[in-house]
Amino acid sequence: MLDIAAIRKDFPMFENNPDLIYFDNGASTLKPKPVIDAVVDFYARHTSNVHRGDYPIARLNDELYDGTRDIFARFLNCSPQEVAFTHNVSASMNEIIFGAAKAFMNPGDVILTTQNEHASNIMPWFKVQRDFGVKVEYIPTDVQGVVSVEDFEKAMHDGVRAVCVAQQTNVLAAVQPVKEMARIAHEHGALMIVDGAQSVPHMKTDVKDLDIDFLGFSGHKMCGPGGTGVLWGRYELLEKIDPMIYGGDMNARFYADGKMLLQEPPMKFEYGTPNIEGVIGLGAAAEYLMKIGMDNIHAYEKELGDYFRGRMKEIDTITLYNPDSTAGVVTFNVKDVFAQDTANFLATKGIAVRSGNHCAKILDGIIGTNSTVRASLYFYNTFEEVDRFVEAVKEVTLENAVSIFF
């Protein structure tokens, strides 16, 4: 089992905010010392650009920056040449979606997704639908946002060229059967594209075992620095898709007649000076998570999540939207209190949660409400914090929520 007390010592945020209950890990996560040190060391000891210096510090940064691909090769069970760094999952998904639509799709082709998706994973498809005539269709889900293999098989047809879902959705933490979906998608000649923003930080991700085609995720949701993301794709597919942005670093040659020779993947997706310190810090984050063990993290969060759900079910003013989730995420409303009022009341108790529609603006079609409170845990959260949270939630009433203004 995990030694949570020891783990918490790695996160200076806890020492600096002794009363904070940080349950907003779905939005962004805290950073452990090895990540902070990696970033600060870059600033204090070895600042330079990458891929263009012949002096020792620049070479060190080349090693650290490109070496982060090797770390992710272990993290994802893939080749380092399949790991491109982006600025966040939004950038990764746009790169994948526009690239795949242009390379592999024709007007009238269908992409299958759900009404559960984050803006970053569906708005690019809407744009592609509008500009290229690709058609967006939805796979039905249950009221907790989960896709069943049977429903997916029914929604699947030979006009589908790509399936694109979040492996774990951001509001309800619905975990989709991505491996089975990839098998079925491939049987129909469709690509399997996965938004891993909420899954990769919390469970072991083996892209070979899942047998998917593309994956995107953000560094800041997995203990890494902001402004970092990963785009993973099968190498032969990365070779076929065009990058979205052109410029320095990603080109090999270009000529007066307009001929351009791009770098090989993954470099062709990395335009301009990258977030060098961020990527180095992200490597430290991945190492840190692997040291704790992704399976240990997942098991602990499930146990903590189950305890949390159980305690929330005791409160009769609570509507739980994902009572059967297997993740450390509890999405709820308090009867007669608007989500943001609940969140603001909890804030007065030192609790950080997210309220609103969480950028999943067509989810109301599934759960019948626009606005929820989401408490999202990570491996450094504790049973005591859950207990304190539950006591605070019991105090949420319309009166108390309004009283914070007086």
Partner: protein
């Protein structure tokens, strides 16, 4: 004077907010061409409010609203519809200016704001200022638009 005392009592102010939240006034749209309307959906990720007003000869004859919003957004907009209805646009603009000052934590004339003083502490929770102003910004824009089209 008595009224002013009441409006200094936190318990009363809290009741005002709760009441306007639970039973919002003027809370349905008529969607007629006699009304100008403003849909405030992009102001924040959550609140989604539409305000409409019927303005004739510089007088606000009616204001209505609808939408999904938190206590502060709903109550502040509901209070606004009551306060500004029947006022001239000039009077309304002065009230609106005072309201925005109050919500920003600046000097304001409480007499002009009546029940809207219930929002006087919102500035202490900076993340909620946009809630307290969403409906007010809508009517402010509607008034400006009506003046421009008449001017």
């Amino acid at each position: 004077m008595e009224n002013q005392d009441l409006l200094n009592d936190p318990m009363i102010l809290r009741e005002i907010i709760m009441d306007h939240y639970k039973y919002p006034h003027n809370h349905s749209l008529v969607s007629s061409t006699a009304y100008r309307s403003r849909h405030m959906a992009s102001a924040s990720c959550i609140d989604d409010i539409t305000v409409e007003a019927k303005i004739n000869d510089g007088v606000i004859e009616d204001i209505r609203f609808d939408g999904i919003a938190c206590t502060i957004s709903t109550a502040s907009t509901s209070i606004m519809t009551e306060l500004l209805r029947g006022k001239t646009t000039e009077e309304a603009k002065e009230i609106i200016a005072n309201y925005f000052s109050m919500v920003d934590g600046l000097e304001y004339n409480a007499d002009l704001l009546e029940e809207a003083v219930a929002m006087k502490n919102v500035y202490k929770q900076a993340n909620r200022i946009k809630c307290a102003t969403i409906g007010w910004r809508a009517i402010d824009q509607i008034i400006k638009e009506s003046e421009e089209s008449n001017g």
